[in-house]
């Protein structure tokens, strides 16, 4: 089992294939988008496009990218980086799937920095 820093946020089946759900933290955190790709890989990013904070969780997911619904910036799911020619990065959150459940790495959500 993962350590205390990993928080179970429910089964993988909660998130549609090529879809995303938004996760909220009480009190401190910024919203987090949890993505599931066509290959069933799971990624998590702060749910704010580096451009104008558009909700990435509402974007279209193709391969390992998501397109922001506001102005069509394309963001890499692995590192949160905008694809050229746009420049900017949204913070990525460590995430893993164990026995069909999704776990997110909590310190990053609380402190806003990768630990």
């Amino acid at each position: 089992m993962p350590g205390n820093n990993w928080k179970n946020i429910g089964p993988l089946a909660n998130i549609p294939v090529r879809g995303s759900r938004r996760l909220c933290l009480k009190q401190k955190g910024r919203p987090v988008a949890v993505f599931r790709t066509g290959e069933d890989e799971i990624f998590a990013l702060i749910d704010e496009c580096p451009h104008k904070k558009g909700p990435l969780s509402e974007g279209i997911i193709s391969g390992n990218t998501v397109t922001c619904p506001l102005h069509n910036w394309v963001i890499g799911l692995e590192d949160g980086k905008a694809l050229a020619p746009d420049e900017g990065t949204t913070q990525s959150i460590a995430v893993r799937v164990i026995d069909g459940d999704i776990y997110v790495h909590l310190p990053e959500l609380v402190t806003g920095a990768r630990v």
């Binding site: 909660n14 933290l25 279209i60 959500l109």
Partner: protein, 820 residues
């Protein structure tokens, strides 16, 4: 560490613009990067992009992505260190170092200064106000686009190339635009008075207001720009003021480094400044008294500078005759050399056709062509330029020359039109990039190129302003013969096929899934992208009603959650009001729902319905449930489908009404709601020719007359207002309904995804639509039948479905976590 272990000399490039990077490209071509370790400093936060194309970005013809010349990977692959967003502030020639604004200090062996130019800004009071900008870089374009989204009135100061392109771009973005120009006619340095007036007349007709002879005295306003005050008393209100009166070389750094400067940084024929280790290229330089604003001579400078930097001691730069053109869609201007006769010895020949808006003037001196100004038809521009450059003796052609190449050469016994076989290899095709016919042919043959984009990638021909595209295509056809692939607009970067090919294959090969389509056309990305996914989803839905299952993951958020996302992440909800009719019960329900869910804004829309704005996503199913209980369904205000059918009250109440326009509107809406279309569709029915429902700017409009119903199609009230084309007059409501179904289906089956009916009809021609719908009775009935069949699967209220639990995950957040 690098400095010690890397034996190469260090070249520091100051300026990440077109001139500097072109020089690096030329250098890499010459020596593969063996001689220098390269560091590039750019003041802008971007990679290298095509500044000439900013006006196309502003006008919406291109995206920022499309004008990037070298992406970040290019710098990485070539081992170039790129520092963006940090300008060099000092060159210390004693210690051989440069220092950046952020405090970075680097040692150099050689420097290339390519700092370009700055917008000319005379001391006009008010220049510093918010709402005033130049037109020079991506940041300026962003400012202008932001202003265009929220504000209405723009004033552009400057009637040269840049100012006109800025004005046209803002006009395209929906602003009302005024242009102030100091001189009596536009582009007076490139055009004579006659051509300048034609240009002004055409742009005036396109809705730009001109204030010529206008000396700007002040930009007024306290918190924000409010207007432009001219010296003669005229005042123009403005929310955005764009200053585009010219540019001046950016010489500050060179001056501070004690290099010789005049108007620009002084360079000799070898592109060296007064310090032999410091080179300079582009708009910042002055060469033999000339400064440069056009791309062709700057590319030449880049070539010479690259050769010198890599050890060629013979390369020399020389200025040549130049041409200019304007990038405004549908306005063709060409100018090269002298604008008018200098004295009595010169010959001036003019051709003018006011009706067709054509103007041509050529200037001859000693039997040679020395100038050409053209307006309206510029196809022969590069040919004239060639005659000027080669100093060809044109005595024999004199009388025919002004009529253009085909006529002039036909008269002298040569073939009409460009004959690429007979054309000498040295003939210059692409003026911007200095590419000759011979170079293009060599590249096509050696590298076995078959498409325009490949020729562009390898030779750069037609890659800058694009005016020579048709000639490059001609050479491709000549050199590659049957192998040549015509350039085409592909569905997106994922595929080489265009919309029509894909739609045809979906039917002929019975492709019924997105995966099947992507495999059939060898898609480059297995899951496609945000451009092709929604298009394919629509094409399959249209082709296989009842069979293809809609893929919600390929829909834009609004169509996925059946509401319109707003800028703060809340949604708006618009229930259908058939034909604009409502009832007290519906109004009660809307009022209750607005109170119950604390909906902050309730607004009547332009389409005769009521919009509830500011609904939280998780409240959507509850709002829909309450509206549904009062009998209301989705108005599809978020959909590429039928939006509204606007009506006037018609014969039931109006003393002018000739038919029951409201009743017909309700019937049309009941028949067509729920269908998915390439883009949104709006209808209107007016009860008499007074046309209170504004039917003549709708995708389909019906205007009732005593004798029946006039059906009109292809109108649009958006940025580019387009009045409908009359389709047919019919006698009965049933005929109107049949035409409506057939028109919807023809549009659904043949328009490209995201193409409204107005550009679709402009593309295929209204005669084609008439041929299919009016002249072919059987065809119309079949189209209508196909539409009605597809409607049997489409007319399911999406709101009711979601109240019942469909896609519940869309409207619920994951369980909240507690931070520790």
């Amino acid at each position: 560490m690098n400095m010690i272990s890397d034996p190469r000399e260090h070249l520091v490039v100051i300026g990440n613009g077109m001139a500097g990077m072109r020089t690096i490209e030329e250098m890499l071509k010459l020596d593969g990067g063996r001689r220098y370790r390269i560091t590039v400093f750019g003041a802008e936060p971007h990679v290298n992009y095509n500044r000439i194309m900013l006006s196309s970005v502003l006008a919406g013809d291109k995206t920022v992505e499309e004008i990037v010349i070298n992406p970040r990977e290019w710098y990485d692959e070539n081992g170039i260190t790129l520092v963006t967003g940090d300008a060099v502030k000092q060159i210390d020639r004693e210690s051989r170092t440069v220092t950046s604004t952020a405090g970075l200090v680097v040692h150099y062996d050689k420097i290339l200064i390519a700092t370009g130019s700055k917008p000319l800004a005379p001391p006009i009071p008010g220049l510093g106000l918010p709402g005033v900008c130049a037109f020079r870089d991506i940041a300026d374009v962003d400012k202008m686009l932001a202003a265009a989204r929220t504000h209405k009135r723009a004033v552009v100061i400057g009637g040269g190339l840049l100012g006109l392109e800025a004005a046209w771009g803002l006009k395209q973005r929906g602003m009302s635009v005024a242009l102030v120009h100091l001189m009596p006619t536009l582009m007076e340095r490139q055009l004579d008075a006659a051509a300048g007036q034609l240009l002004q007349r055409d742009l005036d007709r396109r809705g730009i207001a001109f204030f010529t002879d206008g000396q700007t005295e002040e930009i007024t306003g306290t918190e924000h720009a409010e207007g432009v005050q001219l010296a003669d008393g005229r005042f123009i209100p403005a929310d955005l003021v764009v200053l585009a009166i010219g540019i001046r070389p950016n010489i500050d750094l060179a001056k501070a480094g004690d290099l010789e400067v005049n108007r620009g940084i002084v360079v000799t024929d070898d592109m060296r400044t007064t310090d032999p280790d410091i080179f300079s290229v582009g708009e910042c330089v002055e060469h033999r008294g000339n400064v440069f604003g056009l791309v062709a001579p700057i590319w030449e400078q880049a070539k010479v500078c690259a050769a010198r930097l890599t050890g060629d001691e013979t390369a020399l730069f020389a200025s040549q005759a130049l041409s200019t053109s304007l990038k405004i869609t549908g306005v063709d201007v060409f100018s090269a050399g002298a604008l008018m006769a200098a004295d009595e010895g010169d010959d001036e020949i003019t051709l003018r056709d006011d009706n067709r808006g054509l103007y041509k003037k050529i200037v001859l001196r000693d039997g040679k062509l020395v100038g050409a100004v053209m307006y309206g038809d510029v196809a022969d521009g590069q040919w004239y330029l060639g005659l000027m450059r080669d100093k060809t003796d044109v005595q024999e052609l004199r009388d025919r020359l002004v009529f253009g190449r085909a006529f002039a050469e036909a008269g002298s016994g040569k073939a009409a039109g460009p004959d690429f076989a007979a054309m000498p290899d040295s003939t210059q095709i692409c003026g911007c990039n200095g590419v000759s016919k011979g170079a293009i042919v060599c590249a096509i043959r050696d590298k076995k190129l078959t498409s325009l984009s490949e020729v562009r990638a390898h030779t750069k021909a037609s890659a800058s302003c694009g005016q020579c595209t048709s000639q490059v295509e001609g050479i491709l056809a000549f050199a590659a013969g049957a192998d040549a692939k015509p350039a085409k607009k592909t569905i997106c970067e994922c595929a080489d096929a265009d919309h029509d090919e894909i739609r045809a294959a979906i039917l002929s090969q019975e492709l019924k899934t997105m995966t099947a389509v992507r495999e059939a056309f060898a898609w480059k990305k297995p899951e496609g992208c945000h451009k092709c996914r929604p298009a394919l989803n629509y094409y399959l839905l249209c082709a296989w009603p009842g069979e293809y299952v809609d893929d919600s993951r390929s829909r834009f958020v609004n169509e996925r959650v059946h509401a319109n996302i707003q800028k703060d992440g809340t949604y708006s909800v618009i229930p259908r009001m058939w034909g604009g009719l409502t009832t007290p019960a519906e109004l009660h329900a809307i009022a209750s729902v607005a109170e119950k869910f604390n909906i902050p804004t309730v607004k009547v829309t332009g389409g005769q319905r009521i919009d509830l704005l500011g609904v939280k996503k998780e409240d959507l199913p509850g709002v829909w449930d309450d509206l549904g209980k009062a009998g209301m369904v989705s108005g599809h205000a978020y959909a590429k489908g039928l939006r509204t059918v606007k009506t006037c009250v018609g014969s039931e109440w109006c003393r002018f009404g000739t038919q029951d326009s409201t009743g017909l509107g309700v019937k049309l809406e009941k028949m067509c709601w729920g269908s998915w279309t390439p883009h949104k569709v709006k209808f209107a029915v007016s009860g008499c020719p007074r046309n209170c429902a504004e039917a003549t700017i709708k995708d389909m409009g019906v205007v009732c007359v005593e004798a029946g119903y006039d059906i009109l199609v292809g109108g649009n009230g958006g940025i580019e207002v387009r009045v409908t084309d009359p389709l047919v007059r019919v006698a009965t409501e049933d005929e109107v309904l049949e035409y409506a179904g057939a028109f919807m289906q023809l549009y659904r089956e043949e328009a490209h995804y995201l193409e409204r009916t107005a550009p679709w009809i402009a593309r295929v021609g209204v005669d084609y639509v008439k041929k299919r719908l009016v002249e072919d009775n059987d065809g119309r009935a079949i189209l209508n039948a196909r539409f009605l069949y597809s409607q049997t699967f489409a007319q399911i209220d999406p709101w009711t479905e979601r109240v019942m639990g469909t896609d519940a995950h869309e409207f619920e957040r994951l369980p909240e976590l507690v931070g520790e």
